[in-house]
């Protein structure tokens, strides 16, 4: 019988077995305070600056998969069965710098040096994930790391130097050994830590999850914890019982069945984005702008839906595409249209003991045009001021069906019913845009906050309608910044 009451992982190449650590201890806190490894830095404690970036390696079908993650909002139990690699581990046995480190030195990629360990680890993740050397790819890979000194140019040069000279590194050479060490950890597939202040469950199956939820209906479910992590680091909230679904393989599959894309709720954005963008190409840019590599490696679509934020980026998409949520509990499952899930600010249709099991997204149909536009102050890694998703089917230039959904315009992500009504049955012309624009004002009375003023939100929402029609009528092609600005 495996020991379910310990967290087992590799710190570099050393085995760690933890039994008495508070489960919501962050990996960053653990590194700095327990291991006294201070190379990994805290810049923001909210997963937005990347100074705390570490790389997690795990066995995926007999190969190591490397993922850059924000250690500041990752709980220690997440390391279970994996290898934690920090900036301190990159030099080889002869004390030679890793190629990404050497490139950063050669290209003068550090000034104050505080963000540098995080950049080095993102570059290391990139090194092992075969990033191409285009600027867009490098920017996407580095979007989760902020540097205030260099202006990034030398770091981009360092990325290129490292990628151009790519050759197997010491981690590749040791891959077999590491895989063996990981398996020697004998990490139990499911974990249960019961501490006086906090209990933690990481079930391995949906069946187990249902049982645990039945016994602990008020517990907090986490997947990547990119949001819940902030409750701990920012608000110092105490959580009595935490259930992690990130080890449940059943919740991490994506498949096509019955004209539906079935997305397991614990799929990370990284794992889901390519498939979804294949069917709905407009999602490509949205996902590139969704958090950062580090966030996408941790965050899940299920988490984005379940926490019900009014500005979650996937929500308007799911509503516009009429996705269905499969919500389960020990007693069974129910199916709910995504749009009905959000009741009010901070209130969702998820009862104690229930969890989001799956999201079913219809496949595109003939004549359907789908577009999503995200607007924020910064292109990369920002939260939307407004996010608009549009699904329109046209027949001979006449709008047959239309579903429009906005984030950032109300207390919840919501459909624009008046606007839809104004558009349906009309040809795409200047006229209909004005009608749609006016109807939108009946649909929404957005608030003013630091992400945008009310009148900006209203105006830009209308403009997105214009953009949509420009694009689907072929009048304008979509702006692709990298290409248009070259």
């Amino acid at each position: 019988m495996q020991d379910r009451q310990s967290i087992r992982f590799l710190l570099g190449s050393e085995t760690r077995v933890l039994t008495d650590i508070l489960p919501t201890t962050t990996v960053l806190e653990y590194l700095r305070k327990v291991e006294r490894m201070t190379g990994t830095k805290e810049g923001c404690a909210e997963g937005d600056c990347g100074a705390c970036t570490v790389v997690i390696a795990e066995d995926v079908n007999g190969k190591l998969r490397y993922k850059a993650c924000n250690s500041c909002i990752m709980f220690v139990p997440f390391l279970h069965g994996k290898q934690l690699i920090t900036v301190e581990h990159l030099k080889d046995r002869n004390e030679q710098l890793h190629p990404v480190q050497q490139a950063m030195v050669d290209q003068h990629g550090s000034q104050c040096g505080f963000c540098t360990p995080g950049f080095v680890m993102s570059l290391f993740g990139m090194y092992h994930n075969g990033c191409d050397t285009s600027r867009a790819a490098i920017d996407d890979a580095l979007a989760g790391n902020l540097c205030r000194c260099t202006g990034y140019a030398p770091i981009v040069r360092a990325a290129r130097q490292a990628l151009h000279g790519h050759r197997p590194d010491q981690f590749d050479h040791r891959e077999k050994q590491t895989l063996r060490s990981l398996s020697d950890l004998d990490a139990a597939p499911s974990v249960h830590l019961d501490m006086s202040q906090q209990s933690y469950h990481a079930p391995a199956t949906v069946k187990e999850l249902k049982q645990i939820l039945k016994e602990n209906p008020e517990s907090r479910i986490v997947a990547g914890a990119t949001d819940v992590g902030l409750w701990v680091t920012k608000e110092r909230r105490h959580l009595d019982c935490v259930i992690s679904v990130s080890d449940i393989q059943e919740l991490q599959s994506i498949s096509i069945e019955k004209e539906m894309i079935r997305i397991g709720s614990a799929m990370t954005i990284t794992d889901a984005m390519d498939t979804l963008s294949l069917y709905y190409p407009s999602l490509d840019e949205l996902f590139r702008r969704y958090g950062s590599v580090q966030v996408r490696n941790q965050a899940t679509i299920g988490g984005n839906v379940a926490n019900g934020s009014p500005i979650g980026d996937s929500l308007p998409v799911l509503i516009a595409l009429d996705a269905k949520l499969i919500i389960s509990c020990a007693a069974g499952s129910r199916t709910l249209p995504a749009e009905d899930y959000f009741i009010d600010y901070g209130r969702q249709d998820l009862r104690p003991g229930e969890f989001l099991e799956r999201i079913d997204l219809p496949l595109p149909v003939e004549g359907q045009h789908f577009r999503v536009y995200k607007l924020s102050k910064r292109f990369h890694q920002d939260i939307s001021a407004v996010c608009g998703a549009f699904s329109v089917t046209l027949n001979a230039g006449i709008i047959q069906t239309v579903r429009i959904s906005f984030g950032g315009m109300a207390a919840t992500p919501r459909r624009a019913f008046h606007c839809e009504e104004a558009l349906i049955g009309s040809p795409i012309s200047g006229d209909v845009i004005d009608r749609g624009r006016q109807a939108l004002q009946r649909d929404f009375t957005p608030i003013t906050d630091f992400r945008g003023n009310s009148d900006y939100r209203t105006r830009v929402a209308g403009n997105l309608l214009e953009k949509l029609f420009d694009e689907i009528s072929g009048h304008e092609r979509p702006i692709v910044w990298e290409a248009d600005c070259a």
Partner: protein
């Protein structure tokens, strides 16, 4: 003394693109910042409790439950300060702990020292504080209306601008404003105080100004300066934000250590850091300008107002520098500029790279753009028309001669290399088509006066030891914040002794080794400290020359230092050996060095004199593309030519230019500080406050150090300061955005967009431009 020629060969280290001294330690995580120092046993952790209100009288503050919370060892507040409850760098108006009232949301009420950070943090929530709320002053407009100022207004004046404007063929008037900017150094404020025997104390602090912290702690704790040592090896970024703003936290840590007899550390998390520490000043400008048909400015009146926050801090010299920078690169024959130092119920704004100059430059460049638009000319022509002259038109409004105005040459060079004219023409054609993309381009110059406007700050000290194995220990008063100061000074010292750079050990900055130092600020770090270190090294070198001359029986001028050896006539000895010989001959191998900037004069009453040793110059061309429907935009290309004199280290200087430009771009584009109606800052973390990311920097980012650059003044190896000036070049991005928006009026009317040009502001400016029907 320094000018006496000595024998050494061409520099081996200076002028070379040598990596930052800590580069290898940065990339391996070995570089130690305050929070990385191994923690002493017994260490206490401190958390500050902040005011939630912007303006209130504190009628009662009950911290009894705080004191009895788990793990709490001490509660620190104003009532138990042994000495002076103040951490102001200037006029004594910054209480370490609030006393009877709070003047901004984020002000420190008290602080808790506990066994763990979490305990200190949770204990802070246990206080009961009662307030009597007052009507806060939150904006520049409110402050002007209520005549709420931290210090009297200041004016700079030459000629008769009123009449010159009246008599000019054309007149324009307008306004422009800019927002503030958080420094967003990646390492937040941090300090650790360790008590020593006899009441002494060592404070490790992330600060640009160790001597000031030493002084403030001595006043806070009623101790002599000799009892307090402040040390900093490096900062994880500072940008002006750790000049005066590091003091309060060091004071609190010192007080906790004094009170408990235990080591104590304070490290602000990002939210507290952004709520409680000062930022760049918002400015509001109102201007009236008269000009000729060719764009020559005949007269200019500018009224500025800056948001200083609740106290004076460094607002006076910052506003002075704004006044001294309103000319930027232009000869203003008749000008009056006045600045008001507005007192608001917000955090006290402070030094930030550029120190008031970027704001003033934003204003004058807007004026030039508008003149160009009004006359239907390329604003570049107007710029060149108004540039300072070489022999005439070369006196600034404050009476200083511009003796090396190189912007004409630099502009011509950049116009050529950036293909400015052809691109501008192409953009104008593209904008006539029916596209959702609007494009804009602009060239703006920068002239930046180098020296502290606080004249006596322009001095530095150093301490150099040569050991008997030939290795060298280098101390100076400057602090390393990533700008590459340490490596530059080391290069100078290595070359002075003509030894390999690795022989020079860079020591942490420590107030007991080099006392009474100035802040490392005003771009002056390498100018001042390299000179002081060179002087110290020169003293030792001269002694070594004496030892060699005597030992080998040659004249002193026959002794030559060369690549780690010393040649004396026909004899030769290694540098190590000579050092050992000096010890045996009872000759000291240690020396201090001192430097003060020459030529500086300043009369604060008349606002005239020679406040700067020299000027640094730069010029940039930026191009942008805007999505007409959303206001989102990208910078598509940037070309920069920057004058670093004869660069001490071109790799370091290039990094300063690229980094300074991008930081300035953030200030003018995506970085928006947003307060709610109660004066509470709502953008206090990177999730809500957006500094540039990698994707905001264009692939076509062509940055060059001007090859012909050479300082006409006798600075260290004829180099120029490079920390702040490049930030001013980001104004070209703002002008390019405005150019793009103005295309909607067919360039008949210049958009009055304010900074930061967020997508929202850009879209609103587009709408305004379209609905005004031009």
């Amino acid at each position: 003394m320094l000018d006496r020629p000595t024998k050494s060969l061409l520099p081996a280290s200076v002028h070379k693109p040598i990596a930052h001294d800590s580069a290898e330690r940065h990339v391996t995580g070995e570089a130690v910042y305050i929070d990385d120092i191994p923690e002493p046993r017994n260490l206490l952790h401190i958390w500050p409790a902040l005011s939630p209100h912007a303006a209130a009288r504190v009628t009662s503050m009950d911290t009894r439950r705080v004191g009895s919370a788990p793990g709490v060892v001490a509660v620190l507040d104003a009532s138990i300060v042994p000495g002076k409850n103040d951490c102001s760098p200037t006029i004594g108006d910054d209480p370490v702990f609030a006393e009877g009232r709070v003047d901004f949301a984020g002000q420190v009420l008290f602080a808790v020292a506990a066994e763990s950070e979490l305990q200190a943090r949770l204990a802070c929530l246990e206080s009961v504080v009662e307030y009597e709320l007052e009507e806060p002053v939150l904006t520049i407009e409110q402050a002007l209306e209520r005549e709420s100022f931290v210090l009297p207004s200041a004016t700079i004046r030459r000629g008769e601008p009123e009449r010159a404007i009246q008599d000019a063929p054309h007149q324009l008037e307008g306004t422009v404003r800019n927002g503030g900017q958080d420094h967003f150094y990646l390492e937040g404020q941090a300090a650790m105080a360790i008590p020593r025997e006899g009441g002494d104390m060592v404070i490790y602090c992330s600060t640009q100004h160790p001597s000031e912290i030493q002084l403030l702690i001595s006043k806070l704790l009623n101790k002599k300066l000799h009892s307090i040592i402040v040390e900093v090896r490096r900062m994880g970024g500072a940008f002006g934000g750790k000049e005066s703003q590091a003091s309060q936290w060091a004071c609190i840590a010192a007080m906790a250590a004094e009170r408990t007899g235990r080591p104590a550390k304070i490290r602000l998390d990002r939210d507290v850091d952004m709520l409680a520490t000062g930022k760049r000043h918002d400015f509001s400008f109102r201007y009236r300008v008269g000009f000729g048909d060719d764009g020559t400015i005949h007269g200019l009146i500018v009224e500025m107002a800056s948001k200083c926050g609740y106290s004076a801090d460094l607002s006076k010299p910052i506003n002075d520098r704004a006044l001294l920078s309103i000319d930027n690169a232009y000869y203003l024959e008749n000008v009056v500029a006045t600045t008001h130092l507005c007192r608001t119920n917000s955090v006290s704004n402070t030094a930030f790279r550029g120190f008031g100059a970027p704001q003033a430059v934003l204003c004058i460049e807007r004026i030039i753009d508008e003149i160009g638009c009004h006359l239907g000319k390329d604003p570049l022509q107007v710029r060149q028309r108004n540039y300072y002259g070489k022999r005439t038109r070369n006196i600034t409004p404050y009476g200083m001669k511009v003796s090396d105005f190189v912007l004409n040459e630099m502009t011509v060079e950049l116009v050529e290399s950036s293909d400015y004219h052809a691109r501008r023409q192409r953009i104008r054609q593209l904008n006539q088509g029916e596209s959702n993309l609007l494009r804009g381009i602009a060239l703006t110059p920068a002239k930046f006066g180098v020296s502290f406007t606080m004249s006596y700050f322009n001095q530095a000290g150093a301490l150099v030891h040569v050991y008997t194995d030939g290795s060298i220990h280098l101390n100076h008063g400057g602090t390393e914040m990533g700008q590459g100061l340490f490596i530059k000074v080391a290069q100078v010292v290595a070359d002075e002794f003509s030894v390999p750079l690795e022989w020079v050990k860079l020591a942490e900055t420590n107030t007991s080794r080099v006392p009474n130092t100035s802040a490392t600020a005003a771009s002056s770090g390498s100018d001042l400290n390299s000179m002081a270190a060179k002087a110290a090294a020169r003293t030792i070198k001269n002694r070594l020359i004496g030892v060699a001359a005597k030992a080998f029986g040659v004249e002193k001028d026959e002794v030559i230092f060369l690549n780690g050896s010393v040649i004396a006539g026909r004899s030769s000895v290694s540098f190590q050996k000579l050092a050992k010989m000096a010890q045996v001959a009872c000759v000291s191998l240690s020396s201090t060095g001192y430097y003060k900037t020459p030529k500086i004069t300043w009369d604060p009453k008349t606002m005239t004199g020679h406040p700067f040793y020299y000027f640094a110059y730069g010029v940039a061309v930026s191009e942008v593309a805007i999505d007409r429907l959303t206001g989102e935009y990208r910078i598509t290309r940037v070309d920069i030519l920057h004058d670093a004199g004869r660069s001490l280290n071109p790799a370091v200087d290039l990094g300063q230019i690229e980094g300074g430009f991008v930081q300035g771009t953030g200030w003018l584009t995506s970085e928006e500080l947003w307060w709610d109606d109660n004066g509470v800052l709502k953008t206090h973390a990177p999730s809500t406050y957006k500094i540039p990311a990698s994707g905001d920097v264009p692939e076509a980012f062509n940055v060059k150090i001007w090859e012909r650059g050479r300082n006409v003044e006798q600075t260290i190896y004829r180099s120029k300061a490079v920390g702040e000036p490049p930030l001013l070049l980001a104004v070209s991005v703002f002008s390019a955005i405005t150019d793009a928006v103005s295309s909607l009026s067919d360039y008949k009317r210049w958009s009055a967009i304010d900074a930061p040009a967020t997508p929202e502001r850009v879209l609103m400016a587009i709408n305004e431009m379209r609905s005004s029907g031009v």
